[in-house]
């Protein structure tokens, strides 16, 4: 196994093209678990820690471009938290301080777990994933980027370079169910924004992200609509029945919060 450590984005993209078998590693909070437990056997690792371009975020057009290497810790406070409160709330629920200092938004999308905490708020925000290769860059809506459980639309020569999203400008929130407040993989989770259109997306309740929308006038039936759109499974963290019920309750609470 080799560790490839590019010092710039252009070098990273050239290495990605030359070594499509290399597994990208940024914060390492998912990749290292696979290595430590001898479950992942990548032919090589592409260490993105030294690519400063991936760590940057900035206003872009009428929204923001958040580099793939921006951490949960950076999203849960400061200017990004003020613009994207639901994403900030979701970031605060990730793991522990140690995990939030290392884990990144790009890594969460690359892993593409149904339990990925950043994914519901990104789906509600209509965020797009910027995927870049030596051939150029393209943008894919988050809901299309995640193609299945831990599967994504990234081509073999592409890296996730950034997320593009606009502040909703309306009340929004994120809720998560788990056995304790820290170090929890979501039993289920939910992001909601409540403008003229109600928008919701859940986590740990479908193999791929699902966006549920309704006119604001349908707030009374929206919780049932969101629960009906879920396709949860029974697993070690909870039952499908519990998850569907919890999503209805979470949607009701989220609307109480947002419409108050």
């Amino acid at each position: 196994m080799d560790v490839l450590t590019p010092r710039s984005l252009s070098e990273a993209l050239a290495l990605r093209e030359a070594h499509p078998e290399a597994l990208p590693i940024q914060g390492g909070t998912d990749v290292m678990v696979g290595l430590n437990f001898d479950r992942a056997h990548p032919a090589a690792l592409l260490n993105l820690n030294e690519v400063v371009e991936l760590r940057e975020w900035a206003p872009s057009g009428d929204g923001y471009r958040i580099g793939a290497g921006v951490t949960y810790a950076e999203m849960m406070s400061g200017p990004l938290a003020a613009e994207f409160p639901a994403l900030a709330e979701a970031s605060r629920t990730v793991g522990s301080p140690q995990i939030r200092n290392r884990g990144t938004i790009g890594g969460n999308l690359a892993t593409a777990s149904p339990a990925g905490d950043s994914i519901p708020p990104l789906v509600v925000a209509g965020a797009e994933v910027e995927c870049t290769s030596v051939r150029g860059a393209r943008r894919i809506p988050v809901a299309d980027f995640v193609t299945g459980v831990k599967r994504n639309a990234l081509a073999a020569d592409e890296l996730i370079t950034a997320i593009h999203l606009r502040p909703s400008g309306v009340a929004e929130t994120f809720l998560k169910v788990g056995p304790r407040n820290a170090m929890v993989i979501a039993v289920c989770s939910l992001a909601v924004s409540a403008g003229d259109e109600l928008r919701a997306a859940f986590g740990s309740a479908s193999p791929r992200p699902v966006l549920v929308t309704a006119p604001r006038g349908e707030a009374a039936t929206f919780p049932a609509q969101v629960a009906a759109a879920a396709s949860p499974i029974d697993d070690v963290r909870g039952t499908a029945t519990y998850r569907r019920h919890a999503i209805e309750v979470l949607t009701r609470r989220a609307l109480e919060r947002c419409l108050a």
Partner: protein
Amino acid sequence: MRINVRVNGVPSEADCWEGESLLFALREKLGFPGSKNACEQGECGSCSVLLDGVLVCACLVLAAQADGHDVTTIEGLGTEEELHPVQAAFVETGAVQCGFCTPGLVVAAADLLERVSDPSDDEIREALSGNLCRCTGYVKIFEAVRLAASRGAGA
């Protein structure tokens, strides 16, 4: 592969397997066994170290990612002759039982007090939420952090 890491201010070199964690390199190659190896998945916090001043789980950092960077371990916080104020407070309040989680908790608590000199209980709880202790039940650990804060450990 060869990595160069500045550990507790001292330039250090080690030969590492490419998939090896910083924790393994610290304990088995670089001679810093203070950081403990338990869950190997970021759940327990017993391997907490500072990487370029940022609190991380050393088990979730690829050793190669630390090449050219600064790492502070529990060994860098105090000496046997002169304990770090957080270490002294842990001893005085009896916040240590089996001691396995203690290095990680001391590093996390010292990191908190560097940022927040007079933390509330909620801030202590949040800052230590990634560090598990299976003996003391946390009451004495909280006492230790409050004692260290009252002595200006973060000043």
